[in-house]
Amino acid sequence: MQTNNNNNNNNNNNNVFEVENLNLWYGKTQALKDVSVKIEGRKVTAIIGPSGCGKSTFLKVLNRLISLIPSVKISGSVQFHGKDIFSDGINLVNLRALVGMVFQKPNPFPKSIFDNVAFGPRIHGKKTKSELADLVENSLKKAALWEEVKDRLHEPGVSLSGGQQQRLCIARALANEPEVILMDEPTSALDPSATLKIEDLVRSLREQYHIIVVTHNMQQAGRVSDNTLFFLNGELIEADTTEKIFTNPKDKRTEDYITGRFG
């Protein structure tokens, strides 16, 4: 599917991901059907759709976390900066460092706040104390958590509140210095005020990262995103600027979903 929200000429191509004819099966059930889309850089892209529509699956394709499930079969191509990530010889370790991910439920490791954030840099070979300390501080600042935790960096990550834990997980992803951040319903386990903080954070990060957010909350998509993809039953129904999707959707099904006619 070609979308007209991108400035699609070669001189000014700013697509981070270019997905073509992506099909995905879990065993015999097809979860994604012939999905083609281009995802613009330096924008927040929201993915919406009813549960089970394939939006989380699609997200996990982008950092190939989906490859962990043995029964998954995939056809089509997914290009990240023009490089097919399903071709042979892809360094998954580096791919996942470049394409960070934040999960639905905050999953801090049972380590200190500092060690949580330093986990990524450490496994990627950054060892010196000052280097790590800088990175951790900077990542926590970007995640708007520094002021709250700077005096207790060595307390366990799980001692934080739910919203703080999620920001910790965002800081942890940022410490890898990624290009893209994938967020899989990052606020579904949080209360409204923690949700607002995460949304502010997402907006403040969009100049520095390409962000893709899966959400079941349409107000959220409207508040944070520039572009929106709407999935239904494994198909990409519509992809456009958020404004157009919400005010003037082309597809009847998108309109039904936006106006709340789906369960």
Partner: protein, 334 residues
Amino acid sequence: MPELGDAKKIQLPLRGQRDAYIADKLTEGVKKSHLANFFIEKFFFLCGLTTIVILVLILGFLLDKSWPAIQEVGLQEFLFQTRWMPSSPIEAGFGALPFILGSIFVTVGALIIAVPWGIFSAVYIGEVAPFRLKEALKPLIEILAIFPSVVMGFIALVVLAPLIGEIFGLTSGLIGLTGAIILGIMTLPTIISIAEDAITSVPNDYREAAYALGASRWQTVRYVSLPAASSGIVAAIMLGFGRAVGETMAVLMAAGNALSMPVREILGLPFPTLMKSVRTLTANIAIEGSDVAWGSLHYHSLFVLGLILFIMTFAVNLIADIMLTRFQEVNRNE
């Protein structure tokens, strides 16, 4: 505290400037990391194979070591003859039938004791006991399972055998029955815990349907829960059999170990009996195994006994395993 300033902000470059860098990152060092992961995975794979290797080694090794005896004496003599004199220089005998029957009779005796006992106890835990009592009883049953078998043998020797001797007016209470009772007690925890699992895993729908039809709780247990759990209970009995047949120290210390057939003639017909001194397969291996001359025919004949024991327990455990898996699958589908 000095002002550290805001987080460093780097604006992402646009795509054209970035492609080469990303492509480079995505392909760097792939071979090296693949190789390392390959070796780590293969290492764990090999470790995972250990148990298969050990099982095959045990079976192959028992076959290998018993082969000389089977070849020279013949399997028939081991299985059907009754005279065991493996190191007699004049006329050696390799009839292991007394041990085989001894093992089977003592085990069956143990199960006759333990099965009703265990099932009733399980019914009590699963259906009668209030929740708190139930939670207290379970760990107590587990304690019964952790006594070393030599301790159980000792108890049989010093407490049970004198009692049995007195009750039946025998000079020695070290008879098959004593072995069967102590084995039965040792099998109890297995039977109780599996039977209790089986009873409590019967779907509530069944139970409620029975209550709705006006059945009492006991009738529901008797006609609904127990029949529905029957294959799980049978599996528990099989597992108990496997465990009891392989048990060594308790029977060795309790059952008397006489080299004779565990049968008594009544009206000229042989009847199984546990009222005399009995020696099991396991006890015989333990008695003779520590001072047998390595490599002798006697030595190899002990491996034949081991092989018989292995095959008996293997078969019983396999059947129990299949039944248990089937039981769990049936329950899951409901």
